[in-house]
């Protein structure tokens, strides 16, 4: 960046910020968040695109050419292109107008990842909607068209920067169909929110404390792996476990008995991370919660105000992560 540009930047940044804030206030007043929205003349903006100004330049050149050569056909062409531009305003506008957007659901993510929002885009049976680009600010845009199917489920991504409930805010939706010379756009807010888990951080010891009331030597007889001994076989036992060798030796129909040693129950403990900052503690807890979940071990979470009993499974994992994500954040704050 040149010095002059820097100077400009500093000179105008204040004004620009002020203008931007004003614009945001205006847009917020005009376009209120709503789960389900239909784009219409109240929410759509329209203006010639950059290419549209190029087109106007072309028209001007043709008009000059037609005027100077006194050639009515060239003049006619210039007028035709003007008419085409005017007609395009309407076609571009109605390509977006009547489009319905509905927020369906969001998928949680970790800080630093892109959160995923699912939305339903639909329009009336008779209308074709073509070449519509939509996305969150900072996220990668998606192209959609409703030609054969009049509805489509879209996944939009937005980078999640902080833990807790993340609101990706306004969707930037725009289209320059049909000729690229007019651009129509809107910033609908569907009120979508994404649960953002803390960013997992490795490199710390497992912040655990053993459970006091159980010794961890309990045998779990279902779905076990380690061979333990023989049992007399009776109906209902798995035929795969029949000890055919023993049967052949005439020891009768025995069944192999397997057990799994349930490991010591783990408690991921907030207090085990003394000396770390809140966010860092959450990140470390998150890392270990994910790590342990992968091993099918039972674990619980203990934090100030949070006590999740040891368990395993996907539901449990999400409950733990949700607790980590919302630590210190009142759930109602964003509801």
């Amino acid at each position: 960046m040149s010095q002059w540009q820097q100077l400009q930047e500093s000179a105008f940044s204040g004004t620009r910020q002020k203008l931007r804030a004003r614009f945001e206030r205006w847009v917020n007043r005009r376009l209120r968040p709503q789960r389900r929205q239909t784009l219409n003349n109240k929410s759509l903006f329209i203006f010639p695109s950059k290419a549209g100004f190029g087109f106007l330049l072309l028209v001007l050149m043709l008009w000059l050419m037609g005027t100077n050569y006194e050639n009515n056909m060239v003049l006619g062409l210039a007028f035709f292109l003007v008419a085409l531009l005017l007609v395009c305003i309407h076609h571009t506008f109605f390509n977006l107008s009547g489009l319905q957007l509905e927020y369906l659901r969001s998928t949680p993510c970790f800080v630093g990842e892109e959160g995923e929002i699912e939305l339903l885009v639909s329009c009336s049976e008779k209308a074709d909607k073509e070449n519509i680009v939509l996305g969150f600010e900072g996220g990668s845009p998606v192209e959609v068209d409703l030609i054969e199917d009049k509805q489509a489920v879209l996944k939009l991504f937005a980078p999640a920067s902080h833990r807790g409930w993340f609101q990706p805010g306004r969707i930037h939706i725009s289209s320059n169909f049909p000729l690229g010379i007019i651009r129509c756009w809107s910033y609908p807010n569907l009120g979508a929110r994404i649960l953002v888990y803390p960013k997992p951080i490795a490199g710390f010891d497992m912040p655990m404390s053993s459970s006091s009331e159980q010794d961890g030597n309990v045998l779990d007889e279902q779905g076990a792996e380690d061979f333990h001994g023989f049992k007399r076989h009776h109906n209902g036992m798995s035929p795969r476990h029949i000890a055919w060798k023993q049967y052949a030796r005439g020891q009768g129909l025995l069944s192999k008995d397997y057990v799994a040693y349930r490991e010591q129950q783990l408690w991921l403990d907030w207090d085990a991370l003394d000396g770390l900052a809140t966010e860092q503690r959450l990140s470390v807890l998150c890392y270990w919660a994910l790590k342990i979940s992968a091993t099918q071990q039972l674990y619980g979470l203990r934090m100030p105000g949070v006590d999740i009993e040891p368990d395993t499974g996907v539901e449990h994992k999400h409950a733990v992560l949700r607790a980590l994500a919302l630590y210190g954040i009142s759930e109602a704050e964003h509801d």
Partner: protein, 679 residues
């Protein structure tokens, strides 16, 4: 949000459309482009196709540089200058082709398609017939389709659908365009751009040697069209005068250059200004119009020459454009600038006239008696003898014409002549075209001491009854003679008529269509009634087009608006533009709105909305994303009295919403009424 990522690359079949659109915008101009541009075009096209197939890569810098060099060198060598139409068009075409080769993004494609629109406009600079309009319209459709496809989603392009869409866009814009065309003010040339000679048929040229006219008669094409306001003159009066040749060097006839005022070639001195139509003292005494004048309008095709055509004797004339017309002392009309575009002018001519009846100025007499020494000795000798034998000028003229009539043959393919053209023709070949007869006749006159000159122009024309006008073709080009006789002034004599009288009454096209028309022109088959009719209708259509649309200038415009609006005021114009344009747009908007209006809500959803509004007034807002069941249960906890009603309402809603049973509209309505009271 940067949508460059999505929009960066042009769609694949968009490229195909682009190539088609570009080549079709260039093809109609191939005649005006140097041959090497075609080679460049083919090269670029090949490369693009190979790129499309994924066989070749994008061209490297070296190849691009090489192409730029080839194009610049080509332009420089072909034209040597740049500030003219043809080199500019070639430059544009080269630019478009090179851009096509290096095109990568959608932005490039957009620019290229703008260039295509521009190329279509340049097509219109070269010619403006109805055929050009149709070709142009097809080009526009293709360019617009290509532009559309560039902005259509990748997977959904169907060529016919895209074309239909583009066609619809164009149809929608048509009424607005017509309106703009009618009311947008014409301001006339802002600055002068020289239109260089591009193609166009020169027609009658500024000199005449044997063979010129017979070759001209084969060049085909239209020289000009003429409409008579009242009665049509007789066919034998339709001698369209263009040029006068007084100077003869033994082979070539050319206009006199013998000092100012002698032969009117220095028309600036002797000319009359068109605007005030003043007739100077000089012209009044030397020109006398007898009889009532005929009024006619001429639309002349570009000739790249300044002279205009009119019937003898022009009494009044007016240019329809801002081009100036000047009348010379020898009664010709000349524009102040070569005619590079179709031009319209109207003339009044008196077909009965007397010019310089009483006295021929000596300078003019001398010029029109001069013959080069050492040429045509036999003709000069015979002329002197015959004049003596004849006794009077008129008898001598009759004798010469009778001589022609006896044994001469009128042919489009005369044998070549040597040094003494007139001698060889008169006593040797005796086969010739109009220029041979005119030339030898004038030489014979001058040799006998009668002032005479060759007049070049057109004879007759083809009458088109459907639009009441004459088409004068290039093959109607003709040369004849004017002879000065004491007491009568300049008198027209057409020696060709003595040989082939049918030529005067009929166009050469009718007499020898197979010789003068190209095999693929309809005119060749004019003996077949159907084709001839078709040809006439087509020409009439073109004529109408030129008169009404192409000739729609600021004057016609103000006249039209005056008639239409009963007096033009800015307010009325504004109303027309807003009202006319507005109503077109409103209709289109209504249609678009109708097809894209949002789906109606299902009746059960409407019901639930009504309940929601009812509950919201009581302070129970439904929260974002809250399922209906949860919401109603939440309300029920607060208002136990309404619990059963709410639950029933919820059940009916769910049954209808999930299609388990028909919507119980009556019941839900009743529930809603009850709920209103219960809450």
């Amino acid at each position: 949000m940067t949508d460059t990522a999505v929009n960066y690359l042009p769609p694949r079949n968009g490229l195909l459309w682009l190539v088609i659109a570009l080549s079709l915008s260039i093809v109609p101009m191939t005649a005006e482009l140097p041959g090497w541009t075609l080679a460049v075009g083919l090269f670029v096209g090949l490369w693009r196709i190979q790129l499309y197939r994924g066989v070749w890569r994008m061209p490297g810098g070296l190849i691009k540089l090489l192409l730029v060099c080839v194009c610049s060198a080509g332009l420089f060598l072909t034209f040597g200058r740049f500030l003219a139409l043809e080199p500019m068009v070639s430059l544009f075409v080269c630019g478009a082709l090179l851009k096509l080769l290096e095109m990568k993004s959608r932005k490039d494609a957009q620019l290229l398609l703008y260039l295509c629109y521009f190329l279509v406009a340049t097509q219109f600079l070269f010619s403006q017939g109805i055929a050009d309009l149709l070709i142009g319209a097809v080009c526009l459709l293709l360019v617009t389709t290509a532009l559309l496809v560039m902005h259509q989603p990748q997977g959904h392009q169907k060529p016919r659908r895209s074309m239909r869409l583009a066609g619809r866009l164009m149809l929608h814009s048509l009424p607005l365009m017509v309106l703009l065309f009618l009311v947008m003010p014409r301001i006339g040339s802002l600055w002068h751009i020289p239109l260089e000679n591009h193609g166009g048929i020169t027609g009658v040229s500024d000199s005449m040697s044997p063979g010129d006219f017979s070759s001209l008669s084969r060049s085909g094409g239209v020289a000009f069209r003429a409409t008579f306001e009242n009665a049509r003159p007789r066919a034998e009066d339709l001698y369209w005068r263009g040029l006068i040749f007084s100077e003869f060097d033994g082979r070539r006839w050319s206009p006199s250059t013998n000092g100012p005022g002698t032969d009117g070639e220095s028309w600036i001195q002797w000319g009359r200004d068109t605007r005030n139509g003043d007739t100077s003292e000089y012209s009044q005494e030397h020109e006398q119009a007898l009889g009532r004048p005929v009024d006619y309008e001429i639309i002349i095709e570009p000739t790249q020459q300044p002279w205009l055509y009119s019937l003898m004797l022009t009494t009044d004339y007016r240019s329809a454009t801002d081009k100036k017309i000047i009348q010379t002392t020898n009664q010709r009309l000349v524009a102040d600038d070569p005619i590079r575009q179709r031009m319209v002018y109207s003339v009044s001519s008196s077909l009965d006239y007397a010019i310089e009846r009483s006295r021929l100025p000596d300078v003019i007499r001398n010029v029109n008696l001069r013959l080069p020494d050492g040429f045509n000795p036999r003709a000069r000798e015979s002329a002197e003898r015959w004049r003596l034998e004849a006794g009077s000028d008129q008898a001598y003229i009759d004798r010469v014409l009778a001589f022609f009539n006896a044994t001469f043959v009128y042919t489009l393919e005369p044998p070549r002549l040597g040094k003494h053209t007139v001698d060889e023709f008169l006593w040797g070949t005796q086969q010739g075209f109009c220029e041979h007869y005119a030339s030898s006749f004038v030489v014979m006159m001058r040799a006998a001491g009668i002032p005479a000159r060759v007049v070049a122009g057109y004879l007759g024309g083809e009458y088109n009854s459907s639009e009441n006008y004459y088409v004068i073709h290039q093959y109607d080009a003709h040369a004849w003679a004017e002879v000065w006789l004491p007491g009568r002034g300049w008198v027209r004599h057409d020696p060709t008529a003595a040989v082939a009288p049918e030529r005067v009454r009929q166009s050469l096209g009718n007499l020898q269509a197979s010789l003068v028309e190209s095999p693929w022109s309809l005119g060749r088959y004019r003996n077949l009634a159907f084709f001839n009719n078709l040809r006439m209708q087509w020409d009439a259509l073109n004529y109408r087009w030129h008169r009404s649309v192409m000739g729609f200038d600021s004057e016609q415009q103000s006249q039209f608006l005056d008639n239409w609006l009963d007096g033009v005021t800015p307010l009325k114009l504004l109303l027309v533009v807003l009202g006319g344009g507005g109503s077109v747009l409103v209709l289109m908007t209504l249609h678009l709105w109708w097809i894209s209006r949002p789906k109606a809500l299902a009746p059960e959803v409407k019901m639930i909305r009504r309940l929601q509004r009812l509950l919201a007034r009581q302070g129970f807002e439904r929260q974002q994303g809250e399922p209906v069941g949860d919401y109603l249960r939440r309300v029920a906890q607060d208002r136990p009295a309404a619990e059963s009603l709410l639950m029933l309402f919820n059940r009916r809603f769910e049954e209808a919403y999930y299609g388990e049973s028909e919507l119980q509209e009556q019941e839900m309505r009743r529930l809603l009424r009850l709920l209103r009271r219960a809450i």
